[in-house]
């Protein structure tokens, strides 16, 4: 048996076996933390990777893709890049859209409009079955010919699995909702699920480009041109080619690597992801505080054994490494368990909230969990590193134990007590630094200093914990001694006598509660702000969007014909229509939108960041042909009233002056808002994404809906919502988005309460002899129990108090720094007192309940046998 094994088994494994529950708890603490981090990142990466695989599959063999920053590529520019053919490159234009399959199930599919002549060179299609009368088409040549013959007006191809789901084979009809109208398409062929037919998780159909343009009102416009350069084109050649293409095309339309769309999407969700990861890390931090506590108790309890080992010739280094190994062992076990748990959690998260994020990228893609080993590795290593790091101090302490004559009981804690004041000062300094960290702006669009500030606050409260415990214990003794007599004194002595352990439990609890408070305040404030904003902006009685069997997704647009007919209805007193497209500027996405400024001028339903009257501003902006920008846009691009901005149009940039900044919580990408007339003219677009209707006085919303339905009959597939229904939907979406956040808080709190349980349990086990001594002195079982519960009460109360204070600081940082810098929103602080009081009370009571088992254990200590123990 090697010395290390003897050390490890004598100092770690045997004691761990004796103390199984506590070790399992410690491992569980790490596991939960690691699982949280892993799950957040896995779920995120899965969504992104399903998007990116769609991008790759659609790009096929393309080495370059031409995309527009603005509202699509005018078809006539195709002629300007005809020279590409001459150098041996293949080009394939495509139009991509979303449609819902008509009917109650309403599956959302991506519709790719392609030119069969040129597309086969870019995207490999493999036909499985075709309509009668066309060749079987298996080899490449044949496929091209077959494709060509299959692509007639209003026919489409679909992947075999989708064909099976929709029960539509060759010759059958599929009805899709496009532009608010149901249209029939004939299935001309079924594709094997390979290549582009696997894009969007197979929820994709292919049709002739002209068919798609016509059905979706995009005549004369294409969304992308994929280019396959001749084999052997070097990277330098590609870059040169890219420049040449750019110079042949209008500004705002450029060629680049196909993956760049993934990068854009990645940027869009980065802030969201970073925020969640930071929350996950706090959960992990709470988890690893277990390791410190467990190890520090281990070292204390095994001082005599350590001394004996040292006397037998074990060196300081060996003892140090043994305890570090224990930390690593806990980290590895907890980490391994954590990644297994994390995968399950990620699967659950995707199933539960996947919809929110998925709708965001592409409503058609169904996300499957992609298990990225590098993410699991990251979470695992973070867990192990954090465990090893928290075992450093206890291991150093173990190494300092002198041979044989172990230090006297109590002296170790006394040494630790000396650190209380310096630690407290460091804690205060940490809060000062946390304040300073709120001052700088974002780094690369991310609130790096904001996160630093949160972590400094957490560190500050943890460092102040020992001072708080000693002070509170003393104060409480003074106050409670009349009523509780000896119990107050015993609990006080225990609290400050085991300061290093009790203060870590307090710090962990404060961390958990701090997180709960800060997130509750942040989300509560956000929610209230949004409700107020919805009340101010939802001026109309009815809102109409294109229907899609799946009731909670709106996409696509309504044709101009619909807008015109709404405007002429006798029951309509006023209307507004929103129309927009998504644009990018240097790879940063934003929205270019439009509404009727004269409607806003009459309703005043557009709250301004500066205050002021939206009615007058809307009027002047419209007259001067200026634009309004949303607050997130202003923050993201550093734009203010009076600045001139460039917006990508179909024929190069459009420059406009910013007339004002308005409040908008509907998206964090930022919006440039044009008056509808000017927008339609500049960007050559018509129709509407949604139409808001103000009914003639005296009409109830229900009557209004009936009148609209009567007017349009079955002609348009639209969804009409009343003001209150839309409001409820908006809040439901809001709550769903923050469900994850609440789940994370719950995790942190649970782990923290487990931590209190773990600590109390450990302290009771550690103090068996002292408890026995109390019994010898005539303390009853009840007194012993009361002392443990009292101790738990102090830990709970202190944790709650410090947590609330830290939480207040953190919520300030979350609202005014992190949120502002990540999303650009100004949020009015609103404290959900009732929820917070209830939550804090629940945590406090749970802490008391957590002391029940340790208290019973303490009461069960038999004096005679406990005193015999070595």
């Amino acid at each position: 048996m090697t010395l290390y094994w003897a050390l490890f088994s004598g100092l770690v494994i045997r004691p761990a076996r004796r103390d199984r529950l506590r070790f399992l708890l410690t491992i569980a603490g790490i596991a939960i933390g690691v699982a949280t981090v892993a799950a957040i990142r896995l779920a995120n990466a899965s969504v992104l990777s399903s998007f990116s695989s769609t991008v790759d599959l659609v790009a096929g063999r393309a080495t370059l893709t031409i995309l527009a920053d603005g509202p699509g590529i005018p078809e006539d520019v195709l002629g300007r890049i005809a020279w590409l053919e001459r150098i041996g490159a293949a080009t394939a234009p495509a139009v991509s859209e979303m449609a819902a399959v008509a009917g109650p199930a309403g599956e959302v599919v991506e519709v790719l409009g392609i030119d069969p002549m040129s597309d086969a060179a870019v995207r490999p299609y493999v036909l499985e079955r075709v309509e009668e009368g066309h060749g079987p088409g298996v080899s490449g040549e044949e496929t091209l010919a077959t494709l060509f013959s299959l692509f007639q007006k209003d026919t489409l191809l679909l992947p075999a699995p989708l064909s099976a789901r929709l029960k539509a084979g060759p010759g059958d009809t599929v009805r899709l909702v496009a532009q608010g109208q149901e249209r029939s398409f004939r299935v001309a062929g079924v594709l094997e699920p390979s290549g582009p037919a696997r894009a969007a998780s197979g929820a994709i159909v292919f049709a002739d480009i002209a068919t798609v343009q016509e059905a979706f009102g995009k005549t004369g416009r294409i969304d992308r041109i994929d280019i396959v350069t001749p084999e052997g084109t070097s990277l330098a050649d590609l870059t040169r080619l890219q420049e040449e293409i750019a110079s042949s095309l209008p500004a705002g339309i450029s060629a680049g690597r196909p993956e760049r769309r993934t990068e854009t999407v990645d940027r869009m969700v980065r802030a969201f992801r970073v925020n969640l990861t930071a929350l996950g890390l706090i959960a992990l931090l709470v988890g690893v505080s277990f390791v410190y506590n467990t190890l520090s108790i281990s070292v204390l309890r095994r001082r005599t054994d350590i001394g004996t080992f040292r006397a037998l010739g074990a060196s300081r280094g060996q003892v140090f490494l043994t305890f570090l190994a224990e930390g690593a062992f806990l980290g590895v076990t907890g980490g391994a368990l954590g990644i297994v748990l994390g995968v399950a959690l990620a699967r659950l998260a995707l199933a539960m909230v996947g919809g929110t994020v998925t709708d965001f990228y592409s409503p058609a893609a169904r996300t499957e969990l992609t298990i990225d080993p590098s993410i699991l590795g990251f979470a695992f290593l973070t867990g192990v590193a954090a465990s090893v790091f928290s075992s450093l101090a206890p291991a150093l302490e173990a190494a300092a134990v002198p041979p044989a004559a172990a230090m006297r009981h109590g002296s170790v804690e006394a040494l630790r007590r000396k650190g209380t004041v310096p630690l407290g000062l460091a804690g205060a300094a940490s809060f000062v630094l946390a304040f300073l960290a709120t001052l700088p702006g974002p780094v690369n669009g991310l609130p790096v200093f904001g996160f630093l500030s949160v972590f400094l606050s957490v560190a500050g409260s943890s460092l102040l914990a020992p001072a708080a415990v000693t002070t509170a214990a003393r104060l409480l003794e003074a106050v409670a001694r009349r009523v509780l007599g000896p119990v107050a004194r015993i609990a006080r002595a225990n609290l400050s006598g085991s300061l290093s352990r009790t203060s870590v439990a307090v710090a962990a609890l404060a961390m958990g509660i701090g997180m709960l408070v800060s997130v509750a305040v942040m989300v509560g404030s956000f929610r209230d702000t949004v409700i107020l904003w919805i009340d101010q902006t939802l001026a109309a009685d009815l809102f109409v969007t294109p229907a899609s069997g799946r009731s909670n997704v709106s996409f696509g647009k309504l044709p101009q014909e619909f807008v015109d007919r709404v405007a002429s209805l006798p029951s309509v007193a006023g209307w507004d229509a929103f129309l927009g497209f998504s644009a990018t500027r240097d790879g940063v996405p934003f929205t270019v939108g439009s509404g009727r400024l004269d409607f806003i001028a009459s309703q005043g339903n557009l709250p301004l960041v500066s205050g002021g009257d939206p009615r007058t501003l809307a009027t002047t902006v419209r007259q001067k042909r200026e634009v309004l920008v949303s607050e997130p846009y202003a923050v993201k691009f550093g734009v203010k009233t009076g600045d001139v901005i460039a917006v990508p149009g179909p024929r190069g940039d459009v420059t406009v002056r910013v007339g004002g900044v308005y409040v908008d919580y509907s998206n964090d990408r930022g919006t440039v808002l044009f008056d509808r007339e000017m927008f339609c003219e500049l960007f050559e677009l018509d129709g509407a994404v949604s139409v808001a209707i103000l009914l003639k006085p005296g009409l109830t919303p229900e009557e209004g809906i009936r009148k609209l339905r009567e007017a349009f009959g079955e002609h348009f597939a639209v969804r009409i919502r009343t003001n209150s229904a839309l409001r409820a939907d908006a809040l439901r979406l809001f709550d769903r988005t923050f469900a994850v956040t609440y789940a994370l808080e719950l995790v942190a709190i649970t782990v923290a309460v487990l931590g209190v349980f773990n600590t109390l349990l450990a302290l009771v086990i550690e103090r068996r002899r002292e408890i026995a001594l109390l019994r010898v002195l005539g303390a009853s079982e009840r007194r012993v129990k009361e002392a443990v519960v009292f101790e738990a009460g102090v830990i709970g109360a202190l944790g709650a108090g410090m947590g609330a204070a830290t939480g207040a600081v953190m919520s300030f940082v979350l609202i005014h720094v992190i949120n502002k810098q990540s999303f650009g929103w100004t949020i009015a602080t609103h404290v959900p007192w009732l929820f917070l009081t209830a939550a804090t009370l629940v945590v406090f009571v749970t802490t008391l309940l957590a002391s029940w088992h340790p208290a019973r254990l303490a009461a069960g200590v038999e004096p005679a046998s406990a005193l015999r123990e070595e």
Binding site: L773, S780, A864
Partner: protein, 228 residues
């Protein structure tokens, strides 16, 4: 006033379950202690001295037999009554680990009073006074780890005496000390005990220490072999 202790046919068996072998630590032990007497329990290691003291101190229950203290059987009494008995009647001093490491000297000594419902201030005053009696008035706010072995035993004695018990049980109180310090501690016990007239039982395996007592009970393999 000291207590009258009557031990009648007391046996104590340990184990018997599969994990631990059955040992009979005490076998049919009977004796009587008169109020104010100072008795030494003498015998080799493992003969059952601690077991016997634990039974008399109500820290454990005998397998059979009766223990009457001032006429009342402590074995058959309820747990709260045994708590009270430990608090008020029988005080115990051990060889080591007598003190609560997280409390100061005064706090250690006042603890039994507090447990008995004495208001904190009065308890602390009484503790200080008793500590002065044992000559430790300079170490009032020290923690146990800051004391020498002899000082710790003096604190333990002060704590035992602060409640004015009728019975003092000392389990090798000098076992951990050098002979000079040990003698000082024994002097202190003798002095305080004779002043207060309480009944003392002291377990020891040292003939010299036992010589201090007025009566010696010899214990061998759980049986009382002779009394002198």
């Amino acid at each position: 006033m000291g207590a009258r202790v009557l031990v009648e046919g007391v046996s104590k068996r340990y184990g018997g379950d599969p994990s631990t072998p059955r040992t009979e630590a005490l076998h049919e032990v009977s004796f009587e202690l008169l109020p104010g007497s100072f008795t030494a329990l003498l015998g080799p290691s493992g003969c059952g001295k601690s077991t016997l003291l634990n039974l008399v101190g109500a820290l454990d229950k005998p397998t059979s037999g009766r223990i009457l203290v001032d006429g009342l059987d402590i074995v058959s009494r309820s747990e709260p009554e045994r708590d009270t008995y430990r608090r008020r009647t029988a005080a115990t001093i051990f060889q080591f680990f007598n003190l609560l490491s997280t409390m100061t000297v005064v706090e250690n000594v006042s603890l039994p009073l507090l447990l008995d419902g004495v208001p904190p201030r009065r308890a602390d005053d009484a503790a200080r006074q008793t500590l002065t009696e044992v000559g430790l008035d300079e170490k009032l706010t020290a923690f146990p780890y800051q004391l020498s072995g002899g000082q710790m035993q003096r604190v333990a004695i002060a704590r035992a005496l602060v409640v004015n018990p009728a019975l003092l049980l000392a389990d090798e109180p000098t076992g951990n000390l050098d002979s000079r310090t040990g003698n000082q501690v024994l002097d202190l016990i003798e002095e305080l005990v004779s002043a207060r007239g309480l009944t003392v039982v002291m377990a020891t395996h040292s003939e010299a220490a036992a010589a201090r007592a007025t009566r010696v009970l010899h214990l061998l393999d759980g049986r009382l072999v002779a009394a002198s």
